[in-house]
């Protein structure tokens, strides 16, 4: 069970200043099964993101980070800097 959760594979896409700082806009990661593990993976892999105010969308829905929701396998996770359309 633990093994299975840790090997959960997700796609992470990044936009705007996040993509610029990460020097990529798409990546895949294992072992991400909830928002907490995502945040900790990002902090380790991409310390350049630490000062950014990023929202997170899972399968195109923005998640409230106050509750630590789980991330389904094969989810599309998006890292969204503050919007500036218009």
């Amino acid at each position: 069970m633990e093994q299975h959760a840790n090997s959960s594979k997700v796609k992470i896409i990044a936009f705007g200043i996040a993509a610029e700082k990460m020097k990529t806009n798409i990546m895949y990661a294992d072992g991400i099964h909830d928002i907490r593990s995502l945040r900790s993976w990002l902090a380790t892999q991409y310390p350049a993101l630490k000062d950014l105010n990023l929202s997170i969308a899972i399968n195109k829905k923005i998640v409230q980070e106050s509750v630590d929701i789980s991330i389904p396998e094969n989810a599309e996770i998006a890292l969204l800097p503050p919007f500036s359309g218009g």
């Binding site: 705007g16 195109k60 500036s84 359309g85 218009g86």
Partner: protein, 146 residues
């Protein structure tokens, strides 16, 4: 029934001709009494990096289209409207050019005006679109809406 969201994205600036064509296209809808239109124009703002020459827009397109579709549905429930059109640029839009075009039509002015105001607010606050301000000499800064 799940509708396929309408495309809202236009490559490059939104031209005055496009706006004129949209307006003309409504002349056969004779139950419309009021159009409220909002246009966002790229400003040549100055900051420590220089003066903005253009904004380069990118978007999380699939999410933006879904969200625009939700905005549409929410606004049609709240106001008595005849039509609503939203267009947003992707790619480079120079200072003085138009990057956002919201066009709301109703029988009465108040519904059209209020709905347009609301749609513009929601676009600015909830559509995953980003503008990178391009200055002279390849400098750039990321815009943030307030």
């Amino acid at each position: 029934m799940q509708h396929k969201p309408k495309n809202i994205f236009i490559q490059g600036p939104i031209t005055a001709q496009k706006i004129a064509d949209s307006i003309s296209g409504h002349s056969t809808k004779t139950d419309i009494g009021a159009h409220s239109i909002f246009l966002g124009q790229v400003r040549a703002d100055s900051n420590e990096q220089g003066t903005v020459e253009a904004i380069e827009y990118t978007a999380y397109e699939e999410m933006a289209l879904e969200r625009a579709h939700e905005i549409r549905e929410e606004i049609f429930v709240r106001f008595e409207l005849n039509c609503m059109h939203i267009y947003h640029s992707l790619g480079k839009v120079k200072a003085g050019e138009i990057s956002l075009f919201v066009f709301i039509s109703s029988k009465h002015r108040k519904a059209a005006i209020k709905a347009c105001e609301e749609v513009v607010e929601r676009i600015k606050k909830t559509l995953p679109i980003w503008g990178k301000e391009i200055m002279q000499g390849n400098k750039s800064t990321w815009k943030e809406n307030n």
